[in-house]
């Protein structure tokens, strides 16, 4: 049995009775036991998976209706709530937090008979790009365990790449799905803002974050998007996508499409030569497939990282104010404390990156500083949206590398906050403007992956996935060495 199969192949194999759900889930658990001590993709594995698998096998055998997922094992980033089970956000402050309700995306997966195999590691409260900020220790890149897997949905990327599960759900605030997808050589899709319900996702920067899939193939991302997308009365930012089928005609090709190569993302200071070569190569591939590629400049790009951190820190400062030890927190009594010192005491246990973002988030919108930082960041965002709208009048897609560099070694960037911020130079534009973006595995150079990012206009996931599929079909990558 090949644990590396795609979601679509898994469904076919189950339908053809090549193996049972229980057999596949048991093998997946074995694999987790084998490799996860080293990789640390999972924070917790679901104890009930074998029972769930047997229930679905029974349904299949007795010809009852079975959901589209046929019991496939899916991992979920540990900032997405499932009623009755822990959701820690990889923070000590939520170490014992049991979610009182289930997120919409999980309800949708459950109703299609997916099996949630476990909760995956992340940078604490999804703030970071390497999982080095997880309070429970980092995940490791299956391509080379001396290197980071990317983040913040690092555990999700690792779990799919290392064949510990079929697919995963992550969240993307500034590249947190696409970055680990690129670093671990899997597909990662950040949908249009509002296409997927955020109900039950622990808030960090609600105005820009989205839940999305990390998968082995582009088709699998389309398959999962079909299930998790759509309007939800519990999240009034969701849009009605009229049950669009993203798998339909996914092989339509991209002949005649216009692709803009984002100049600022192909000549940025921190861009590695290997990554630039891979990007140029991908452009040539698109041209061979019949697309017309030309350079396009977006003047606001150089300011996007500063604008992104300003806006997200402000929202984080407000969202994380709830971790006050009264509603969420640690096991220590309030008696003997004065109000402020009690809350300070509780917050002192938040990790260093979270503390810094909270301080930043208090500073940049404060009286006397808002004009210089927060309001200017919002203006950059507005102008960037106008530029993007203008560009998509002429182009169908934009292309860049997903990350300007390849995976880096543990400890290499953590000491320098500015170089750590620059890791998301190519990804934040999609978040600030709400457009969809996908990372497609493209190359393995020096034993480490490089992903290519394709962006499209809002709600153009259908054509975006067609473009990603066309690119994917041109590459043949080695198997993960773990």
């Amino acid at each position: 049995m090949d644990l590396g199969i795609s979601a679509l192949s898994y469904v076919n194999s189950i339908k053809n009775a090549e193996f049972t759900v229980e057999e596949f889930i048991s093998k997946s658990l074995e694999r987790i036991n084998q490799v996860d001590e080293k990789l640390h993709a999972f924070l917790r594995v679901n104890d009930l998976v074998i029972k769930n698998a047997r229930e679905i096998d029974t349904k299949i055998k007795s010809n009852q209706n079975v959901g589209k997922c046929y019991g496939m094992p899916i991992s979920v980033k540990d900032n997405i709530c499932i009623e009755g089970s822990k959701t820690t956000c990889a923070s000590k402050v939520l170490e014992n937090f049991v979610a009182p309700y289930t997120s919409t995306v999980i309800s949708k997966l459950n109703s299609e008979d997916a099996i949630i195999i476990g909760k995956t590691n992340l940078d604490e409260f999804a703030m970071g790009f390497s999982t080095e900020f997880s309070a429970y220790g980092p995940s490791r890149n299956p391509w080379n365990t001396d290197y980071v897997p990317g983040g913040s949905s690092g555990g999700s990327g690792v779990s799919v790449s290392a064949n510990e599960c079929i697919a995963s759900l992550g969240s993307d605030t500034g590249g947190s799905i696409r970055n680990p997808a690129s670093f671990c050589s899997v597909v990662g899709l950040k949908p249009t803002y509002g296409l997927v319900s955020r109900y039950g996702l622990v808030s960090y920067a609600n105005s820009i974050e989205q839940i999305g899939p990390l998968t082995k193939t582009v088709e699998d991302s389309a398959f999962l998007l079909n299930i998790i997308s759509g309007i939800d009365s519990n999240d009034n930012t969701t849009v009605d996508n009229k049950n669009q089928d993203y798998l339909n005609n996914i092989d339509a090709g991209i002949s005649g499409k216009k692709i803009g190569i984002v100049t600022e993302m192909t000549n940025s200071e921190g861009l590695s030569t290997d990554v630039l070569n891979a990007t140029n190569d991908a452009v040539k591939t698109f041209e061979k497939l019949g697309a017309n590629c030309e350079q396009v400049s977006l003047q606001m790009i150089p300011y996007t990282v500063a604008a992104y951190y300003t806006i997200t820190s402000t929202e984080a400062g407000s969202n994380l104010a709830r971790y006050d030890n009264i509603r969420y927190g640690y096991e220590f009594d309030s008696s003997g404390f004065e109000f402020n010192s009690y809350i300070s005491q509780a917050r002192s246990k938040l990790g260093p990156e979270v503390i810094r973002r909270m301080i930043l988030g208090g500073f940049v919108p404060s009286a006397g500083h808002a004009g210089k930082y927060f309001l200017k960041a919002l203006k950059v965002k507005s102008k960037l949206i106008a530029e993007i709208n203008h560009v998509f009048e002429k182009f169908d897609f934009l292309i860049s590398s997903t990350v300007p560099i390849q995976p880096f070694k543990f400890g290499e960037k953590i000491q320098d906050p500015v170089s750590l911020m620059m890791v998301d130079f190519n990804t934040v534009t999609a978040n600030l403007t709400g457009i969809p973006a996908i990372s497609v595995p493209y190359k393995i150079t020096n034993g480490l992956p490089i992903g290519i990012q394709i962006m499209a206009n809002c709600l153009e996931e259908h054509s975006l996935l067609q473009a990603a599929y066309a690119l994917e079909k041109t590459v043949d990558l080695p198997k993960v060495p773990v």
């Binding site: 300070s344 917050r347 507005s382 906050p417």
Partner: protein, 91 residues
């Protein structure tokens, strides 16, 4: 010359955010570096730009009706009495 945001200003904001910097003095330098990088926003030339906001039509909101919530959320709290949450004394 770069005009660094001074440490006192950052400390004051941290205090207002109820973050005790006694344990966290090393953070100030990093926050300073990040703020220094944010100076790049001054070069964006967006002073006269309008801030656009996302609008949601009222008819897109869910119905304004009472949905009873039957789960006992209080039981998730560590410290409560009857219907009340226990919190430390406010000075």
């Amino acid at each position: 010359m770069k005009n660094l945001v001074n440490e006192e200003e950052i400390s004051e904001v941290a205090k207002l955010m109820k973050i005790d910097l006694a344990d966290h003095n090393d953070h100030i330098k990093r926050v300073q570096k990040m703020l220094e990088y944010f100076d790049i926003l001054d070069n964006a030339g967006v002073e006269s730009e309008e801030i656009t906001v996302q609008e949601t039509d009222l008819d897109k909101l869910r119905d304004d009706k009472y949905n009873p919530y039957d789960k006992n959320l209080l039981k998730f709290l560590k410290s409560y009495q009857g219907k009340y949450v226990k919190a430390p004394k406010l000075n």
